[in-house]
């Protein structure tokens, strides 16, 4: 088969885009190698409470797919892993080296019982919970994690640090929270019923030969540090959109109750600031982040469902609700849920007398307004994952000025690129919501399947 190219696909990124592409290809009978940097799959969609405009529970509509990926006979899943190098063969195939970071847990022995996570005595801030909740040092991203196998965060594991200190002949190190390294912990190893903790585990590298690649590396939100006028990440009750999703999510740190991070009180006034860093070429990014108008309407609506006598305000430049049922959804937030929309920018947010003062303009009434808020949600700009440029470079895929992947042709070849057999999907190309990402991922998968079918057809019939 080497002359006509192989028919195994590599999918990079296991958010909803990568999952969709992987399942479409795998369900057509072709093998898929799915690589994900995080310990478990699902991407940002796993962090969301409910989706717009249907208000479906995000976890509930995604879990069947993540579970299917986990059990699929045609999918080889590499989580906690990164692409290390890529070599293109004369045959057109790609030889890809995948580095799996040490998890210090033997996943073949681990049954996913969760005792280790229960008994681990150390907690650190969880990135998955956007800094609002904590997680153990041995952890899975969520209770629905696929695969449901934990990893140890070596940087914060006091036992591993102690072990490494002793091996290097160093004095015991102390972490940022002041916890000294200790050889006395190892609670996870002592209590694991299958002896799956492996302190000696090293990174491993596997090599895969693939005939097509789908890049679905996804997005991130602009760090709040980039917005000093809105507190720059210093004000605890100024949170970003994903953090507010975690506050709304039943699986989140507050079990779905909207409670502000500083003191756990239920906020009576919540202000949402759209275009926080978007459409701001001087201080943020020049483009529209596209998803915020809808998710802010959704979040304000859900806040009103949780706290009916609370008040939600939304500052907006204009409402861009292009999409089936989207305008109606925003209208619903305004008319049925009573969310107050103020047309104007917020110039400053500062703390005063236990409130967050949100200073802005209401350009419809021509007034400067100041709203004393209990919680502020910044709809921060949608940016590509920091690693996008590096990963794209490995495959010869270009990125634009904003760091998003560049397709072969924005209009006529939206999922293709210059490199043969490499296809692109999802938020790594630019701001996109879930339906668009899923559609584009299926498009990329169709391109892969078309290529694979041509390769199958080109093979000489096997002699009997």
């Amino acid at each position: 088969m080497s002359n006509s190219g192989c028919t195994t696909a590599l999918v990079i990124g296991a958010g909803i885009g990568g999952i969709t592409a992987a399942l479409d290809i795998a369900n057509s009978g072709f093998p898929v190698v799915l690589v994900e940097r995080e310990p478990s799959i699902g991407g940002h969609m796993a962090q969301l409470s409910e989706t717009f405009p249907t208000l479906d529970c995000s976890q509930c509509i995604m879990t069947p797919r993540t579970v299917e990926v986990g059990h699929h006979e045609n999918i080889r899943l590499h989580t906690h892993s990164e692409i290390e190098s890529v070599r293109k063969q004369p045959s057109g195939n790609y030889t890809v080296r995948i580095r799996r970071r040490a998890a210090y847990v033997d996943w073949d022995k681990c049954t996913g019982c969760g005792v280790c996570q229960e008994k681990c005595p150390f907690k650190v801030e969880s990135l998955f919970e956007r800094g609002i909740g904590k997680r153990k040092v041995i952890y899975t991203l969520s209770p629905q994690a696929v695969p449901n196998k934990p990893v140890i965060d070596a940087e914060h594991c006091r036992y591993l640090q102690s072990k490494w200190d002793m091996e290097a002949g160093r004095a015991p190190s102390v972490d940022k929270q002041g916890n000294p390294a200790t050889p006395k912990c190892g609670a996870c190893a002592k209590l694991c019923p299958t002896g799956a903790i492996d302190w000696e585990q090293q990174d491993t590298v596997v090599e895969e030969e693939v005939g097509a690649i789908v890049m679905a590396t996804g997005y991130d939100l602009l760090p709040m540090e980039r917005l000093p006028e809105y507190g720059g990440g210093e004000l605890r009750d100024v949170v970003d959109g994903l953090a507010f999703e975690r506050l709304l999510a039943a699986s989140g740190p507050t079990a779905g109750r909207v409670l502000r991070p500083s003191d756990g009180a239920e906020p009576r006034q919540v202000v949402f600031v759209q275009c926080s860093g978007s459409r701001d070429p001087e201080r943020g990014v020049p483009y529209c982040s596209k998803i915020c108008c809808l998710y802010v309407a959704k979040q304000a609506m859900l806040y009103k469902h949780r706290v009916p006598d609370g008040q939600a305000y939304v500052f907006y430049i204009d409402v861009r609700a292009g999409g089936k049922g989207y305008e109606e959804f925003v209208t619903r937030a305004q008319e049925e849920s009573g969310v107050v929309y103020l047309r104007g920018k917020v110039s400053k947010i500062y703390a005063q007398d236990g409130k967050l003062m949100v200073k802005g303009a209401d350009t419809l009434s021509h007034r400067a307004v100041e709203i004393p808020a209990d919680l502020v949600v910044l709809a921060t700009a949608f940016v590509p994952r920091a690693s996008t440029t590096a990963v794209a470079g490995l495959f010869g895929v270009g990125v634009d000025d904003n760091g998003f992947l560049v397709p072969g042709d924005e209009e006529m070849a939206p999922v293709e690129c210059g490199a043969e057999g490499v296809f692109l999907a999802g938020a790594a190309l630019g701001p996109k919501d879930i339906p668009e990402t899923v559609a584009q991922a299926s498009g990329a998968a169709a391109k892969v399947l078309s290529l694979f079918q041509q390769r199958v057809n080109a093979q000489p019939p096997v002699a009997a």
Partner: protein, 281 residues
């Protein structure tokens, strides 16, 4: 580099020559103490006071351009103290550099020489930070301002627009904070530290400037400040005026950063009426 080599052209500006002489005098004194030689631009005129918004009319740039051209001959950076002059000169310089056709037209009207864009307009705060460094400033402190909770008030013109002024981030400025720290004082950031005092509204919206200045004072007071420190004579004028009529004990003194430096350097005669500070509240 020896201190003798730190020579700057100096543009005092009208306000520092009239109602804010204490800013000028204290500025020259602390500069001399630090080994910075300020050579006053000969035959200077008003900077124009406002950055011309009508760029079509090149005549609007003649006032600032004359100062820039005069400084060109010296070959040194042009130092300023007044935030308004710094703003007008710096932005005019930036405009003329990026609009050569406007500079050409302007040059036809100015007889002293041609604008060639070779002078860098500086503010003394930037010179202290970038040319000397805070450690050097610290070394000249004779009477550290221990326990002085000072509110660094940046106002609007000193920092904005960031890309042209090139001094500090207007949303999270540090330069006055760092200066105060180097003097041994305790900088207390406050919500309105980089908001406008309202001075430009004096004519167009009478009363608004009083409200805005009062809000700045209240914001600094709420942060626990004992003194407000500014780099702008208009801000000082407005902040003082907003407190007129209040009992002395309720007034928050406002001082130029150069006066605070003078106090810390032991140059008491230039420290102004705020020093020695009344007993801490």
């Amino acid at each position: 580099m020896t201190s003798a080599e730190r020579i700057y052209s100096y543009f005092p500006g009208c306000t520092l020559a009239t109602t804010a002489v204490d800013y000028d005098v204290s500025g020259r004194a602390v500069a001399a103490a630090l080994g910075l030689e300020l050579r006053e631009v000969p035959d200077w005129n008003c900077c124009g006071a406002a950055f011309p918004l009508n760029a079509e009319n090149v005549m609007n740039f003649i006032a600032p351009a004359r100062a820039l051209i005069a400084a060109q001959r010296s070959g040194h950076d042009l130092a300023t103290l007044c935030a308004v002059c710094f703003h007008a000169l710096k932005r005019s310089d930036s405009f003329l550099r990026t609009h050569p056709e406007a500079a050409d037209r302007l040059n036809a009207f100015v007889t002293e020489g041609d604008f060639d864009g070779r002078v860098t307009v500086r503010h003394l705060l930037g010179i202290l930070r970038d040319d000397l460094g805070w450690e050097v400033v610290s070394r000249h402190v004779a009477a550290p301002l221990q326990g002085l909770r000072a509110a660094p008030y940046y106002g609007c013109l000193l920092l904005r627009p960031e890309a042209e002024m090139e001094l500090d981030n207007p949303e999270a400025p540090r330069v006055l904070h760092d200066l105060l720290q180097s003097l041994g004082a305790e900088p207390v950031g406050f919500a309105r530290q980089a908001e406008c005092c309202g001075s430009t509204l004096l004519v167009s919206a009478p009363g608004a400037n009083q409200r805005l200045s009062a809000a700045v004072i209240e914001s600094a007071r709420a942060a626990g400040a004992m003194i407000v420190v500014t780099a702008c004579p208009l801000c000082k004028f407005n902040l003082d005026r907003a407190q007129e009529g209040r009992p002395a004990a309720e007034q928050l003194p406002v001082a130029y950063f150069t006066q605070v430096m003078a106090a810390a350097f032991g140059l008491a005669e230039h420290a102004g009426p705020a020093f020695p500070l009344r007993a801490a509240a």
